[in-house]
Homo-oligomer: 410 residues x 2
């Protein structure tokens, strides 16, 4: 792996098994040498799968299959992920490679092809050998075991500078359940190499339609609230598998009060994984939290937050440790959401900077400048118009980003 | 001025006078020393003004006044532009400074306040002394002359590395007319310092509503098709004054065939000025033309073109001279416009790269790699869906951009 990001977590958790989930990894020989780059995850019969995928109009063949499988009911017995080749923009050949992988997993695990989920991440536009992934699946099926979440996180990585995984526990109606998750990517830092892929598994028993509702809500507030450089991959995918092995009573709907603690845990694990992606943003030296309140709706708040978090001017100011609040005013203005100059309030590091359409009287930049020198930057905006609020996370835009992306040869 | 951009035009045109337009510039003492930083342009009675301004929701007091003056009918006798202080996000004090400037121009030129147009560019959020601009207007009114377009271009500049001006001639119903234009800015490279302001004047006689229609159309295909870093200023303004001194017969409407040559000249001068802004993009080393065809509409084509031109990944690949067409596929996919993988065709430097959802057979990267080493990069995309087309211009994203924007202290 590359040099570890300065924003990487200081410690990583020990990962318990998830009942009903087995794991195997190996080297596929497709691109990388000396490291595992393919993951097979097998689920016991009765597992439900929910998923959220990229909105890109040029999404890859594996993503198209996941969408079909989810539409077919979201039953799940297997997940296959390879790193090094995205099998994206590979035309008919890409579709064939996916079919061969589905056939192999279906035969090895004795399940339907629509119970198999696939993801590929890596270089775009290079045909993947038709049987390369399929052959690995056949051999991995004999090596499945309950442990190995950390190895799974390593196997799906590409330009990641550290493996990303998290775990949570929750209670549903008096029954303990566990949630494990792995993720790879550092934003859509390069369509070639750094799609975001996230996989979460739980032993909770939750019917598929409810599981989908819970995942969509959690992703909307976590994975879809992070941005590294505003670019969107052809392959971004987040999947959530529920094996049901914990034996909790089935909830009556996504709003069943029995699910309250599970929802908390799901949003927490999604947030932790999403934040790790930002913390591995290419060239990132600062982790930035943008909190927006007072918007006309939650959607408008997110729009303002993303406009700030995606602004190259805001991100370069943060890299330069410059308390340049004028750039935040600019970003709010261009977001497209309703805003009024004289109601807009801005805080950096908890210090109020603007009110009544101008800088506050006696504004002292010293504590703000000190805050900008830290690794964790906090920007807060109140539009003063309504009750809509949202939080968005990003990193700064540095020379490191240019180096990695300008100097990388396809 | 800063070190001249490597993309600056090799030669600049000689600027003829425009009948009915007089110019004066001086140093205001507000920010800069040793250079003129305030411009007064006076128009003879009977001049019509059209304008297009920023869509920002936090736009400055001067922009708000221009919008009001255009709404009031668009008669014009004066234009006042100062560089160094944007008078943006300055609350009530900013409104008062604008009022004082209008009063001064109205008294000096014996005209109505709604016939005076004002622009300010520079630092955001610093109150401008109430009378600073007004006092300059009073003294400049005694120094107006017909020449001085080059000096006017210099006076409105901030971080510009070269003054930007252009001229064209056209015929309307057998009568020769001239169009002169000046512009400043290098995209919204910093709300503090680099708003885009453009001013064009012609001696043609064109009624205000028709003039507005012509300008809106030309700006939509030129100034609104350039991007440096996707950020939008609180002050962006383009104004077009028509003095009527050429004495051509008034056209019957914006689609009058007599205006065909004038439209060509207007779009050309707008394009030339807009391209100069891109050529002065901070840190720019390559000028990039993105041509999109085959979209479902002109709007959809522009959407795809801007998604490509704004993508940090595409722009860093160009900086790195990397023929990374996968990033173009990604940008098309995320644009939001309709696209189909298998219909998408991509050319770089005139060489076809993709067709049928994959790279073309026998694709040879050598000529494309050679093209990427040049200063003028040509990207062409055909979506294969309809007849909509658009052209967008941008520059590459380099270490220079980060340096200028991260290391600049507010």
């Amino acid at each position: 792996m590359l040099k570890k990001s300065p924003l990487a977590p200081a410690a990583m958790p020990a990962m318990p098994p998830v009942r009903g989930v087995r794991i195997a990894t190996k080297n596929s020989g497709i691109k990388y040498k000396g490291r595992d780059d393919i993951l097979l995850m097998a689920f016991d019969a009765g597992t439900a799968m929910a998923g959220v995928v990229t909105k890109s109009k040029t999404r890859s063949a594996p993503v198209e299959h996941c969408v079909d499988a989810l539409k077919a009911g979201g039953a799940a017995r297997a997940l296959v992920v390879n790193a090094g080749n995205a099998n994206a923009f590979t035309g008919r050949a890409g579709d064939v490679a996916v079919t061969r992988t589905l056939e192999a997993a279906s035969a090895a695990l004795n399940c339907g092809q629509m119970e198999v989920y696939v993801s590929s991440t890596g270089v775009i536009g290079q045909p993947v050998p038709e049987m390369a992934i399929a052959n690995c699946v056949t051999s991995l099926a004999g090596e499945l075991k309950e442990s190995g979440w950390e190895a799974a996180a390593v196997a799906i990585g590409t330009t990641d500078t550290f493996p990303k995984y998290a775990t949570r526990s929750a209670r549903i109606g008096g029954v303990d359940v566990v949630l494990n998750g792995i993720v790879k990517g550092s934003g859509m830092i390069a369509p070639d190499m750094a799609t975001m892929l996230g996989y979460i598994a739980t032993d909770a028993a939750i019917p598929q339609p409810f599981l989908q509702a819970l995942l969509s809500r959690a992703v909307g507030r976590t994975f879809n609230c992070i941005t590294v450089d505003s670019d969107t991959s052809t392959s971004d995918t987040v999947l959530l598998a529920a094996t049901g092995k914990a034996g909790n009573a089935a909830p009556e709907g996504p709003n069943d009060p029995a699910l309250r603690d599970f929802k908390r845990a799901l949003e927490e694990i999604c947030a932790e994984l999403a934040h790790m992606v930002v913390r591995d943003g290419e060239g990132a030296t600062k982790f930035v939290t943008v909190r927006v309140a007072g918007a006309t709706s939650e959607g408008a708040a997110k729009q303002v937050g993303l406009a700030i978090a995606n602004s190259p001017l805001v991100k370069t100011a943060i890299a330069g440790e410059d308390a340049n609040w004028g750039r935040i005013v600019m970003a709010v203005g261009k977001s497209g959401a309703r805003a009024e100059r004289d109601k807009l309030r801005i805080w950096i590091g908890g210090v109020e900077i603007t009110a009544n359409g101008m800088v506050v009287e006696g504004y002292d930049e010293a504590p703000v400048a000190a805050h900008m020198k830290g690794q964790e930057i906090d920007i807060q905006v109140d539009l003063g118009l309504g009750r809509g609020k949202a939080t968005v996370w990003t990193c700064d835009l540095t020379h490191g980003y240019i180096e990695i992306n300008a100097d990388y040869r396809s």
